[in-house]
Symmetry: C2
Subunit: 212 residues, 2 copies
Amino acid sequence: MGHIRVAIVEDQLQTREMLSVLVNGTDGYKCVAAYETAEAALTNIVDANPDIALVDIHLPGGISGIDCIKQLRTLTDDIQCIICTSLEDSDHIFAALQAGAVGYITKSTPPVKILDAITDAYNGGSPMSSQIARKVIGYFSAPPRINTELEKLSSREQELLACLAKGYRYKVIAGMLFISIETVRKHIHNIYEKLQVSSRTDALNKAYPKNK
Amino acid sequence: MGHIRVAIVEDQLQTREMLSVLVNGTDGYKCVAAYETAEAALTNIVDANPDIALVDIHLPGGISGIDCIKQLRTLTDDIQCIICTSLEDSDHIFAALQAGAVGYITKSTPPVKILDAITDAYNGGSPMSSQIARKVIGYFSAPPRINTELEKLSSREQELLACLAKGYRYKVIAGMLFISIETVRKHIHNIYEKLQVSSRTDALNKAYPKNK
DNA sequence: GTATTAATTACACTTTAGTGGTATTCCCTA
DNA sequence: TAGGGAATACCACTAAAGTGTAATTAATAC
């Protein structure tokens, strides 16, 4: 005991060797497995029982590192995966975190920082550079877009539109709002004109654009 | 030039003083404003023109630090806000990042790390501890919820449903998928049966529930 | 004080959506 | 190989949605 068990999933021999030497050469860390492909990792990694797995995104064969993590999550929750890659675009970062990676470091990370990242993840943190963190939170801070479409509508019309969004029939809406079905028709017709559409779904898509 | 302009929004005099002394006492940083309340900050901060604002969450008066950031975003995009608080729960973190904060540090952060965070944010990073980062990504990987409704549908049916979502008419869908309008009807009827609904809007609401 | 606008109702009409039944082909599996 | 699901297609029918025009009232704006 007393050491963190590390597995490596990395196709490049040189990087793989570098990582395992780094890990094994440091007190408190032990490299318990190293795989060249996702396939090899998935069939053997559970037996190796690492605490932490360093996973490359770009792997040979059909399974990417991201998919590898995704599938690994179906096998066990005991292995925490850190993506270790040269790819730094938002899409890969996002996909990796969604797959269940707890950290994301780049291959240019200096060796001592890699060990820090391993310890960090082991202690319940999520190692990533603040540059990467910025990209991560980019997904949160939804564009402060104001909905110009909705503003075109009167409050009554917005009320009607909300009913449309819930899928209510004209008759039901009329009953709920205590107005005649003809008025409902008229309101909705006005809404469609203002939004420049001609169907319920189009109106909803325009007024409440899907965020992602 | 040559220094990062910092504003402070913090109700506690002691902390405020500590931060301004820290910032002003370090080469490359300058405290250009310090406010006790969100209200004061919102009316004056744009004129002070800081690069970075350190914002507490818990502020006296009606406006919290999070709402302060939210409103500030409607005034300018030039000020990057870092939350500096003692609150560390996921909800606050998430709300802050959604409001537009680019970083999240705690008051227990040592002074030098606070300066690092400011520089970090200034350079396009998102300063936060890896513990906080873990909570952030928790929102990503958290709901491994599979959409059981969508799974009931065959791939062809899902294709049809996607067309419905875009607001296409039956005739248009038929043209796009090279099938007859009657087949479109049939598919959609089957979809409605599987989802236990009887209208386009209901089907979409059930198959693609709004996440918020 | 008059013009505009939102909200309301009405009627007639066209188009689209949704229901129910039947049938063929293909593919997969028990 | 018999059955089942999925995809395709057609028909007849009903229900709902959407269009066009017109008119009244109340509030608001100029």
